[in-house]
Symmetry: C2
Subunit: 159 residues, 2 copies
């Protein structure tokens, strides 16, 4: 179980914007250089993030990308969800996936585990905002306690 390249770098690009002074913006080449990825690749990621409403883009000279919403309002769970959409899990046990095309219909021992994990991760990510990733409290230790504290905002499914 791991984070995909698209998830990781998409998130990174947003962090770059969030770290800017109020109202600042970055061009594609600037973002690409800061993340060590190609301009083309950064372009596609920013396109996704723009479509999803996280960033605002302006074309032409002096153009670039800036955050559309305040970093304090953007939760990591939203971001991951968007960057994942292209790469949706097709596994029959997946939280979002198809349940019908499965040979274990109605008696699958591991489905509850997979669903539980999805909820666990989403719950953890929903407690971290973009702003927190660039603030002063972003040590592994601080993040650990944030990720591992449970605010029961997600309720068990009756599946």
């Amino acid at each position: 179980m791991k984070i995909s390249a698209q998830e990781e770098y998409g998130l990174r690009c947003l962090v770059q914007l969030a770290a800017l002074p109020e109202g600042g913006s970055l061009t594609l080449p600037q973002i690409a250089e800061r993340e060590g990825i190609s301009i083309a690749n950064a372009g596609k990621l920013m396109w996704l993030l723009n479509k999803a409403g996280f960033v605002h883009s302006t074309r032409g000279t002096k153009g670039g990308y800036s955050l559309e919403r305040p970093a304090e309002d953007i939760r990591l769970s939203e971001i991951i969800k968007v960057l994942d959409e292209d790469v949706l899990s097709k596994h029959c046990g997946s939280y979002t996936g198809v349940l019908d095309s499965c040979v274990h219909n109605g008696d699958c021992g591991i489905r509850p585990v997979i669903i539980g994990l999805h909820m666990l991760v989403e719950n953890a990510l929903s407690q971290i905002t973009l702003a927190q990733l660039v603030g002063s409290e972003r040590s592994v230790d601080a993040m650990f306690h944030r990720v591992h504290s449970i605010h029961r905002t997600v309720e068990p499914h009756g599946v």
Copy 2:
């Protein structure tokens, strides 16, 4: 963030063996049919699980696979770790991955998050045994509470 096909189906194969009456065994074709995967694919998975010491295999007529260790002693975290080894995350922020080849050396905002997530998931999976997946208490609800309860067996890293 999702579970890989190898992780999911490897786990499923073990569940099949764990669901058997004490000392029972299954052949490759039997496992493949029950999981809806090809025999060749099941073969590779069982080979991995055998190498890792989860199952015992016997060749020849009347051969097959059986659990090497009691299902009560096998935690999901161990299983996932083995099935993941082939497909190790190369991301610079990964818990197990390389940290040096990263352009964000020493000041990467999202690394703590990724490490935290890895710990979170591992912690959750370490609290579920194979036996619990075939027992009577395996509803989504029960699994949810098991996955989401935190026993602080994993401690924050000083990274």
